[in-house]
């Protein structure tokens, strides 16, 4: 993709007009290039002349006309459809980061498809398209429900989208774990492969694409008005809500249909509109057309380059994986250039003012008692084929080898996640920061995944090292990026979401290759702790013992940093070393915890908040309370995950996220609204 590389340096942050002005040189040249490559592929793939044809060449003919040709067409069609979907979403949500993948539409569609295929075949009555569309629509409705009261605030939308897609992905992973290798092909498909066997999918996508494009052409004028704020649009006589819902529906339809046939192809819907904006000031119609053309050309180019460079084996590397790899950097590059987001908003403050607290000791004591109680329940109370048991003595001794490692691992991971979340929230002064939201969990997953690719049976310490390096790099990039923007809190979240999306894209790409590593990663993604050993659990506990005391010692830094860099510096804190120590601590804590329970639990976000709601919001009290709450919540989740679906065990990470998810939803809906 030399084109991506060569276009980016031509724009500087201060100059919105690149040298490539005029009407659409970029789209036209990209399209030309894509067509050229496609022609080369057609010529290379066309079979010998039909006169002297044996069986093999007839097969070639079939492969040519039923696989290669539809595939080439599909590259353009799907790319265009995703580009149109992305540009519509961006217009209608006034959010330059919106696209089917970042909003969770594709992940929702994917989950619905997996569910339908495995358990609810009746959903397939209207074909794969119907099920995917249903999933996509549910994802969009959820997104709207979560963010409607916040006036579809761009940041809230992106965060909610991230949450929806993380949870859908984990749920899909869980389905796969429960059903074994049989459905593994679902994940292979999930990587966005353009392989075709007939013309049917291309026809479906073409039909939907043409209809939607025509509808959008008719809606150009209202779409332009929607680009203003809602009040102005309404006063201009536009039925804002129904218009918005209608266009969202169109965009979801496009994305779902593509997902139904090709799987998740991330970032194409983001890249098209973004590059289209690089061109000269266009009218909106031209912008939409340019976005559409660029997206189509990009996807087709990706596929062609894969086909021409890797050769016959290229089906192993789905195009969606490659676009994901290109898309992450694109997203990061875009962030500083987003003028549509209003950075002047008030900083994100805590969900609500914490009550003044007079007896932190009593609360901490209460938490300790609660924690002990959870340990007792986790160890002694269990369910058997004949009902509930309370085991003591020798019966307990029999159970301990099974229950103790899981409990220790859960408690330790919970405490570590809470610690990491607390550090991140104080360090960035952002109440929504946490290892999950900032994508640090997923980054450590990338470290793990790269290690597994090289050495599938790596030792646990090595895994921890690589996961930590991944977490550290992810966190470092986020902080560097947001620092360049003057530590703007909203941008920090976006950078985190971008890193997370990028890391997740790499993970799904590797999973989609369908190697033995993939299954390990799927298990990790869902946060399953079934096969943890006692020594493994003790190693995590050792992590708590090593990492928590330093955190408690630097409690004062956290208080100062939560007041912002300027105040902290003015009070005499040496920012660089303090920040360095805290970043290392947070990265190690997230990596260790994420290695155990997967990237998903959201505990790192929730535990510090709960501690604050209890009235402990500063200093050591906040740290200790957060750690205790994190441990208690994950311990409880572990027990519930073992008991609820007995004799099956739910993956801990997914289950914990189901517990903490509602809190995040509440925070998005109400909490930040209060701070305005």
């Amino acid at each position: 993709m030399a084109n991506l590389a060569s276009t980016s340096p031509t724009t500087t942050p201060t100059v919105p007009r690149p040298p490539l002005s005029g009407l659409g040189i970029l789209p036209v040249s990209l399209l030309g290039l894509a067509l050229l490559f496609a022609t080369v592929r057609v010529m290379l793939g066309s079979p010998a002349s039909p006169e002297q044809c044996d069986l093999a060449c007839r097969l070639d003919t079939v492969a040519f006309s039923y696989s290669l040709l539809p595939r080439i067409l599909m590259g353009f069609l799907a790319g265009g459809a995703l580009g149109l979907s992305g540009v519509l979403l961006q217009r209608v949500l006034r959010n330059p980061l919106a696209e089917p993948a970042t909003l969770g539409i594709t992940a929702g569609a994917q989950f619905a498809l997996a569910l339908a295929t495995l358990h609810v075949p009746v959903l397939l009555v209207f074909g794969r398209e119907g099920a995917a569309l249903l999933g996509g629509l549910i994802a969009v409705s959820l997104l709207l429900a979560l963010t409607w009261r916040r006036g579809l605030d761009p940041i809230a939308v992106v965060l909610a989208g991230m949450m929806i897609s993380l949870m859908s992905a984990a749920a899909t992973a869980t389905l796969i774990i429960f059903n074994g290798d049989y459905v593994f092909s679902l994940f292979v498909w999930g990587g966005g492969s353009l392989v075709q066997q007939d013309w049917y999918p291309a026809q479906v996508i073409a039909a939907v694409f043409v209809l939607t494009a025509m509808a959008s052409a008719l809606l150009l004028r209202p779409l332009a008005i929607l680009g203003l704020d809602d009040k102005s649009a309404r006063s201009l006589g536009l039925a804002v809500t129904s218009m918005r819902l209608g266009v969202l529906g169109l965009a979801t339809l496009l994305a779902s249909i593509v997902t139904a046939h090709l799987g998740i192809i991330a970032f194409i819907g983001l890249a098209g509109p973004a590059f289209a904006r690089l061109g000269a000031q266009r009218t909106m119609g031209q912008h939409i057309a340019a976005a559409l053309v660029i997206s189509a050309a990009l996807l087709s180019l990706t596929d062609s380059i894969l086909a021409l460079t890797i050769g016959l084996d290229y089906d192993r590397v789905p195009a969606g994986a490659v676009t994901a790899l290109l898309g992450g950097p694109l997203l990061l590059w875009l962030l500083p250039r987003l003028s549509m987001l209003q950075p002047g908003e008030k900083p994100t403050s805590a969900a609500q003012a914490a009550p003044a607290i007079h007896a932190p000791g009593k609360i901490l004591l209460g938490l300790a008692i609660g924690l002990a109680l959870i340990c007792v329940i986790g160890l002694c109370v269990g369910r058997g084929p004949d009902g509930w048991h309370f085991s003591l003595g020798s019966q307990l001794a029999d159970m301990l080898p099974w229950r103790l490692p899981r409990l220790i691992a859960a408690l330790s991971a919970g405490a570590l996640l809470a610690g990491a979340g607390l550090i991140l929230q104080k360090l960035t002064g952002n109440a929504l920061a946490s290892p999950e939201v900032l994508g640090i969990g997923a980054s450590s997953g990338v470290g793990l995944c790269l290690l597994l690719l090289v050495a599938p049976f790596a030792s646990p310490p090595l895994k921890l090292l690589c996961a930590s390096v991944g977490a550290f790099i992810g966190l470092g990039v986020i902080l560097l990026l947001s620092r360049r923007n003057g530590f703007n809190r909203e941008r920090l979240l976006l950078a985190g979401v971008a890193i997370g999306a990028f890391a997740s894209a790499i993970l799904s790409a590797v999973i989609a290759m369908g190697t033995p590593v993939s299954f390990q990663l799927v298990v990790w993604l869902s946060g399953a702790t079934n096969d943890i050993t006692l020594s493994g659990a003790l190693a995590i506990a050792a992590g708590v013992v090593v990492l928590v005391p330093p955190l408690i010692l630097v409690a004062r830094w956290l208080d100062l940093l939560s007041l912002g860099d300027m105040t902290a510096r003015a009070a005499g804190l040496s920012l660089a070393p303090a920040r360095g120590v805290l970043i290392v601590l947070a990265a190690l804590m997230s990596a260790l915890a994420t290695l155990t329970v997967g990237p998903l639990s959201f505990l790192g976000l929730v535990a510090p908040h709960l501690a604050r709601l209890l009235g402990l919001s500063r200093g050591r009290g906040h740290i200790l309370a957060s750690l205790a709450l994190g441990a208690a919540l994950l311990g409880l989740s572990d027990w519930l995950a073992r008991m609820l679906a007995f004799p099956y065990q739910l993956p801990l990470g997914l289950f914990a996220s189901l517990l903490s998810g509602p809190y995040l939803i509440w925070l998005l809906c109400n909490g930040r609204g209060n701070s305005r």
Binding site: A350, A353, A570, L573, R612
Partner: protein, 271 residues
């Protein structure tokens, strides 16, 4: 009195509080502060005035070492500002940003106690003298009755006083305040500035205050320094700056002066 190098205090004393020589600050290749020479004396209250974008906040940030100058030398109490350690500087210089962040769940005492960080450090004990300093800062700002209230539950004026108390607890010889009154209504503005002035008198503190309102600045400051595009265009005691021709240059407007009916102090108005 309006000398271009802003030798505001007239005769030089022993060591000036701040001594700037050729201080320049650029952002994206643009001069926010062109090379600037300036000398500020100890024990005085300076008011920095000027239009939006005149560089007054930037100058204050340079003095507070929140920003590093692109070039030039900046001496604080006779020693290069760069040469101070972080805690060392924070024991001599307190700074309040223009927008104070939400103090998530902290009580007034918690916030003010943070001002002692430069003295007790990361691991040091919060000693009796730290405690006394906090108490005296609360007393000096009239916040003793609010000591255990959450900061975020206070009104704008009280909150601003709590932040000022934190600076007082920092026990420095110099206060830098960036528009401390921007979010306050007029009675609270007056109250805040009187407080700053009283602290300066009682404790012999130097203070450099960025202010928007010329009349408020003239009431507060011993010396006014007016900036335009990073240059000092007028400097001197309020009675020298509060003149029609000078104000017209500062604000680019036709300004008039009349005298306060009670105090006789000059008051500027837009004609």
């Amino acid at each position: 009195m309006t000398s271009a190098n802003g030798n505001a205090a007239g005769q030089p004393k022993d060591t000036p509080l701040f001594h700037l020589q050729g201080i320049r600050f650029q952002r994206q290749g643009r001069d926010i502060i062109p090379p600037l020479d300036l000398s500020l004396q100890r024990g005085k209250v300076y008011g920095l005035i000027g239009l939006n974008g005149s560089g007054k906040s930037t100058l204050l940030n340079l003095l507070a070492r929140q920003l590093a100058p692109s070039s030039g030398s900046l001496l604080f109490e006779g020693k290069s500002l760069e040469g101070y350690g972080d805690k060392e500087l924070a024991r001599r210089l307190a700074y309040m940003p223009q927008f104070t962040p939400p103090a998530d769940g902290m009580t007034v005492t918690d916030l003010v106690a943070l001002g002692r960080f430069a003295w007790h450090g990361t691991l040091g004990r919060f000693s009796k003298s730290d405690d006394e300093m906090v108490h005296s800062a609360l007393a000096a700002t009239g916040l003793l009755t609010y000591a255990s209230r959450p900061v975020d539950s206070l009104s704008g004026g009280e909150r601003q006083r709590a932040w000022l108390a934190m600076m007082v607890a920092q026990d420095t010889g110099c206060l830098l305040l960036d528009e401390p009154t921007s979010a306050l209504d007029i009675p609270h503005q007056v109250e805040m500035l009187q407080l700053v002035r009283r602290l300066s008198r009682e404790r012999g503190l130097s203070a450099i205050v960025v202010l928007h309102d010329i009349n408020m600045a003239a009431r507060l400051a011993d010396q006014l320094i007016a900036l335009e595009q990073g240059r000092v265009i007028a400097a001197g005691p309020p009675e020298d700056v509060m003149r029609e021709d000078v104000l017209a240059r500062i604000y680019g407007l036709d300004m008039g002066i009349f005298n306060h009916p009670d105090t006789g102090a000059p008051i500027g108005f837009v004609k």
